[in-house]
């Protein structure tokens, strides 16, 4: 569960986040949508504590995030671009993460490692991997510790169609386990099957946060892409 209250962040001249208020519950799959530079990544980074907000609070499972980093042990994060130490091997990376999180062998979720067939290349150094394989490593790492909250930044970008399907299946599976999942993506058709709610950001402001059925009802469109387009048109004609 996560609550965001009056969150504001300014980068010099740019108001990256402008008074965001939101409430996410377990079992929801929130898709964060918005044009480039609308503040999606800034929001995600604020939740992870990488960006320090100017004002406002974020509560994870009821507790405000501040200097205590322990709340992050319940979050799995898949970055937009994953880069790892050049000379580190894949197996080594996973061992290191297990070491850092102090997770016993029994607790980890190796599902993605198996499905992406990463075990067989455990001895490969990171610098030799292609962008797509690195993306698979990032995905496997996000799910590895069986976290309550998953934050996926452009998860399917750079993945081939087969891997992309595998990842989507996994997200569905985790959704069933009553986890909170936040996804940003520009590929709206990917989100169609996954999302339960849509959060739309523009120029740092939250335009709306609605569950997907309401959105479909209001716009009369079945596809998420068309529904969003309809809302955007309405916004521009009003403004």
């Amino acid at each position: 569960m996560m609550r965001i209250e009056n969150l504001k962040k300014r980068f010099k001249k740019l108001q990256a986040l402008d008074n965001i208020n939101a409430m996410f519950d377990n079992g929801q799959v929130i898709s964060l949508i918005g044009p480039n530079g609308s503040g999606k990544t800034t929001l995600i980074k604020s939740i992870l504590g990488m960006v320090k907000a100017d004002e406002g609070n974020i509560f994870v499972n009821g507790n405000p995030i501040n200097d205590d980093p322990s709340y992050r042990s319940r979050i799995g994060y898949m970055p937009q671009i994953g880069r790892y130490p050049d000379n580190m091997k894949i197996g080594h990376l996973f061992r290191m993460m297990k070491d850092i999180r102090k997770m016993p062998e029994a607790g980890v979720d190796t599902d993605m490692l198996i499905r992406f067939d990463l075990m067989s290349i455990f001895e490969k150094p990171m610098r030799t991997l292609s962008g797509g394989t690195r993306q698979k490593v990032s995905a496997a790492l996000a799910f590895y510790f069986n976290p309550d909250i998953l934050i996926l930044d452009e998860p399917t970008a750079g993945l081939d169609p087969v891997s992309s399907e595998i990842l989507k299946e996994k997200i569905m599976l985790e959704k069933m386990k009553n986890k909170l999942i936040l996804i940003t993506s520009h590929i709206l058709s990917d989100l169609d099957e996954l999302a339960t709610d849509v959060m739309y950001l523009q120029e740092g402001k939250m335009i709306f946060l609605k569950d997907i059925d309401t959105l479909r009802c209001e716009t009369g469109e079945d596809k998420l892409g068309k529904a969003i387009a309809r809302v955007m048109q309405r916004n521009t004609s009003l403004g």
Partner: protein
């Protein structure tokens, strides 16, 4: 605390730059000891190389390493680890790998050829300079987001400490040559770790007498127990203060 350091160290020790640095230092040290009949002459030449190369490599390598690990640091930030711990672990990894390069490259030859007070003083200076300039480089890197600017400021700092500073000191001494400046120059040397290291070793080698009256004062001071504690203390400050500042900046930084 040091779990992460171990992995950073493991990664860096396999990098080609560190291996090349080790081999270079080793070749230079062995070469100088083989060429020079007189061991203290060899140490003097080695000292000059160490004073130039160690700060330069420490600054540049650390800065480049920091920017290359940027995404990795981000990944670590998404884990339940505090920022202070992440930065100190990175520091530990970089500093330890540079020190091990130095100890293999310079330490071994020195221990084999001239295992005496001067040799040990040279090793102490090398290690202290590595630690100090790694700290300074971390401060420069966390301060600027841009890679080019970060490396640029690291280079400028190196220019300042190894070239410009000497000029400034000469200028000051020259303009105030009518006044007794001995105590003051002692203070000035504390403002530059490279200078401090140089004076410290020179005096251990008994070439301090060549430095005239000031040299005598130095010798009096640096030769004594208090002088050694003073040098070590100032070096320690050069390691700790930039590192603490870097941690402070890093804790408040947006990544």
């Amino acid at each position: 605390m040091f779990k992460l350091t171990r992995y950073v160290l493991y990664d860096i020790l396999r990098s080609k730059v560190v291996i090349a640095y080790t081999l270079f230092l080793f070749a230079v040290s062995i070469g100088l000891f083989q060429l020079e009949e007189n061991q203290s002459k060899a140490i003097l030449s080695l000292l000059n190389i160490v004073l130039i190369v160690v700060p330069l490599i420490s600054l540049i390598f650390t800065t480049i390493h920091y920017y290359n690990s940027y995404e990795f640091i981000e990944l670590m930030l998404s884990q339940p680890l505090s920022r202070t711990r992440i930065l100190l672990s990175e520091y530990g990894g970089v500093a330890l790998s540079l020190i091990s390069s130095f100890m293999i490259g310079v330490g071994f030859p020195v221990l084999i050829y001239t295992f005496d007070a001067t040799g040990l003083a040279l090793l102490f200076t090398g290690i202290a300079l590595t630690l100090a300039f790694t700290s300074i480089a971390f401060l420069a890197s966390v301060k600027s987001r841009d890679k080019a600017r970060g490396i640029g400021s690291a280079l400028l700092l190196w220019f300042y400490f190894s070239l410009i500073y000497d000029g400034l000191v000469l200028l000051i001494l020259f303009s105030f040559s009518d006044y007794p400046m001995e105590k003051f120059t002692l203070f000035l040397s504390a403002l530059n770790p490279i200078d401090l290291g140089r004076i410290f070793i020179m005096l251990k080698m008994d070439v301090g007498a060549l430095m005239g009256y000031t040299g005598a004062l130095y010798k009096d001071f640096f030769g004594s127990g208090a002088g050694i504690i003073f040098t070590a203390g100032i070096m320690l400050l050069w390691v700790v203060i930039p590192l603490l500042l870097a941690v402070r900046v890093f804790r408040k930084k947006d990544l």
